[in-house]
């Protein structure tokens, strides 16, 4: 990122970190966690211990990081190198990102930026019309549909966590990630000691990966003895029963149809069910027991929006509630071929033009690579 852009963004971030102490707190059991941060155009600083809110605020003011992270893991010695930290356990974490959901709307809000001359277009071309370069980078801007689809995944996840895994609602924290999705943190002492492999199996359960027909009563041989789950059952068996039968009166007819179609057909059906009913989380995040995860209250440098907790997921609007930077006007050179809406105000489209924008909108465009400070 060029120096002028960095200066503008840093000043906006600093203002936020200075004014919004109320939103920025260390998580529970902070002294057992590893913290890390990144500065613009610089590498990651890790293995830090931040004991309390005061120390955190001091660091944010002093360093003005582009991104701040904190481990989901608890360590005896969080400031030592990884091999000496002495891992004690970790919160369960989940990442739901709209870009992983393969939504048809993605193409409508993805901008292609020429890697060579930086000009932006909304349709992918074989070469840049301005400079002839064939290399493009992509930037995705906000989309309501992406957010509502991500919310659906969060709802599915919370249902499995509470009903199948017996995790209490007050042990589940849902956060807007600060860009295009949600982060979920579970603090439950039963699940805390699970290692990476155990978490991988748990995430397969949540995603409905690796289910075999036998588990739902369909046998490879001797198919006449097959018996499908009932509507009264819990867990995936109950969920599958509801999906297959829809109502009790149809159970016997549909059961006969499924059994006569055979094992392979049911296997295909399970695969289809997985696509709609399995929760689409990023498995790598949940499996990683040493990850440093974006700190709540901090700003995501991919967008300039904050990672904040969603108390009411249904009504949560990230483009106003997580847009917390200052609103005094700044001038930038904007090249944003799509209209964006922040804090209920519309901006753009802009075709490489100098515009005066509230700081939060200007920073959003700069973070997305759709404008430059002047």
């Amino acid at each position: 990122m060029n120096e002028k852009n960095t200066l503008l963004i840093e000043s906006a971030f600093k203002e936020y970190y200075f004014n919004r102490f109320d939103l920025i707190h260390v998580p529970k059991r902070a002294t057992e966690r590893e913290f890390g941060y990144q500065k613009f155009n610089s590498g990651m600083t890790r293995h830090l211990v931040i004991k309390n809110d005061k120390e955190l605020h001091l660091l944010l003011m002093k360093e003005v990081p582009s991104d701040v992270y904190c481990s989901n893991a608890y360590y005896a010695f969080p400031n030592l190198p990884m091999s000496e930290k002495d891992w004690k356990g970790a919160d369960l974490i989940f990442d739901i990102d709209a870009k992983d959901l393969a939504l048809p709307c993605r193409k409508d809000h993805t901008i292609f930026k020429c890697s060579s001359c930086n000009s932006s277009v909304i349709e992918l071309q074989s070469q840049c019309s301005k400079c002839g370069s064939t290399k493009f980078e992509t930037a995705s801007v906000m989309c309501k549909n992406c957010i509502s689809e991500s919310k659906l995944e969060v709802t599915k996840l919370v249902d499995i966590l509470t009903s199948d895994l017996n995790i209490k609602k007050d042990e589940i924290e849902v956060y807007f990630s600060g860009n295009e999705g949600f982060h979920i943190r579970v603090t439950n002492s039963d699940y805390e000691p699970l290692g990476s492999q155990e978490r991988a199996d748990l995430v397969d359960y949540i995603m409905f990966n690796g289910a075999i027909p036998e588990s739902f009563g369909i046998k490879r041989q001797n198919n006449s003895k097959s018996s499908l789950p009932t509507l009264e059952e819990k867990g995936w068996r109950g969920r599958i029963a509801h999906k297959l039968f829809t109502s009790k009166s149809k159970t016997s007819k549909i059961t006969k149809e499924i059994i006569s179609s055979g094992y392979t057909a049911f296997q295909v059906q399970l695969e289809e069910i997985k696509k709609t009913m399995g929760v689409r989380v990023d498995p790598k995040v949940t499996m990683d027991i040493h990850r440093i995860f974006r700190l709540e209250g901090s700003i995501n440098s991919k967008s300039g929006l904050s990672k904040i907790q969603c108390d009411n997921l249904d009504s949560f609007d990230p483009f106003s509630e997580a847009c917390l930077l200052g609103d005094d006007n700044v001038q930038i050179l904007a090249d944003c071929p799509l209209q964006i809406k922040l804090k209920n105000k519309k901006f753009g489209p802009y075709k490489n033009e100098v515009v005066s924008l509230p700081k939060y909108a200007a920073v959003y465009m700069l973070c997305k690579g759709l404008g430059n400070a002047i």
């Binding site: 039963d190 155990e198 991988a200 289910a211 036998e214």
Partner: protein
């Protein structure tokens, strides 16, 4: 308070109560080496020989003397400790675990009779800190407790998604419950034997201790190990050749690795001959399953270095040269 009888101790001689029972009888080590007790020493020796051959020592608790069942286990431990051969101790621990597993399963099975159920559940709770409860005729354990054990099994039916799960619990049959703790039971017995201290070997035991040393020799013959194998595979082969128990995940590594190097099921199967629980038919069936020639037709891939590290099966050396899967071993070096 749960009362543990001599019959229970005959089934589960590794319980702490077994020591208390012995203390109450007033029998000393010296007394046990008296010729009168020779049948017990012979029984103990037989128990080790059966275990070393990979078989499970059969006990008919209805017709046999329960005292001799318990005493022969204790004498077997003394013989094993006196001989001091780790391979024999490991084989014995595993075989005894599998012997007790049968009883545990039977006792769990009798779930309708609450009285019988208390002991197996107490054993599982005390030894492995796992709480098993009963819901109707099924056994239920907490999801995290299940995951920590089931991840060591590669069969798809053990994946959580293929289990009945509700309200934070996994539902299991008696057989599955016991299967889940098999490895820990073996480890527990092994640990118990390791912790025993023998000051001196009683005279009456000396001959059988010497016999055990001779018996152990047949497990120490090592055969050729190719230097082209990565250290994790080498380690697995060495463990098997010593006749020691290689965990399922280690066997899976060997099978998938060697299959990926073009070896056939028939070429690989003999490698497992020395395993304490070797069964030719099962081994072939499993290898065929892994190779994809039977079962679902899925050909299983060699686990990644990361996975092996998490299973404590990685023994990386500088030769590994940053590879991420054992099958890459040696390739990088050749390209240099």
């Amino acid at each position: 308070m749960l009362k543990i009888g001599i019959k229970d101790l005959a089934k589960y001689p590794f319980l702490t109560e077994a020591g208390e029972y012995l203390a109450n009888t007033g029998l000393s080590l010296e007394q046990l080496s008296h010729p009168d007790w020779k049948p017990i020493v012979e029984k103990a020796y037989g128990r080790i020989v059966v275990a070393s051959s990979g078989q499970i020592y059969g006990s008919d608790l209805e017709s046999l003397d329960n005292d001799s069942e318990l005493l022969s286990f204790i004498v077997a431990i003394i013989l094993l400790k006196s001989a001091g051969i780790a391979t024999l101790i490991r084989r014995f621990s595993l075989a005894e675990a599998r012997r007790s597993e049968r009883f545990l399963q039977q006792d769990l099975w009798a779930s309708r009779d609450k009285k019988n159920l208390e002991l197996p559940l107490k054993i599982i709770q005390d030894l492995f800190a796992v709480t098993v409860s009963i819901d109707n005729d099924e056994f239920v354990i907490k999801v995290p407790d299940y995951l920590q054990r089931a991840v060591h099994f590669h069969e798809k039916e053990w994946k959580l998604v293929n289990r009945r799960v509700a309200n934070g619990f996994v539902y299991l049959s008696a057989h599955e419950t016991v299967r889940l703790i098999r490895a820990e039971l073996g480890e527990y017995i092994n640990g118990k034997i390791q912790s025993v201290n023998i000051q001196s070997i009683p005279q009456g035991f000396k001959q059988r201790v010497e016999d055990l040393v001779i018996l152990a020799k047949k497990f120490s013959d090592t055969t050729y190990v190719s230097s082209e194998y990565p250290p994790c595979v080498k380690h697995g082969i060495e463990v098997l050749e010593k006749g020691e128990n290689l965990p399922h995940s280690g066997r899976f590594l060997l099978a998938t690795y060697l299959l990926s190097k073009g070896q056939t099921v028939d070429q690989i199967a003999p490698l497992f001959k020395n395993a304490p629980d070797y069964n030719e038919r099962t081994t072939k069936y499993q290898l065929e399953h892994i190779s994809g020639s039977s079962g679902s037709g899925t050909k299983y891939q060699c686990p990644s270095c990361e996975k092996l590290r998490s299973e404590s099966l990685c023994f990386a050396t500088s030769d590994c040269d940053g590879i991420i899967n054992p099958i890459q071993f040696g390739k990088k070096r050749k390209n240099k």
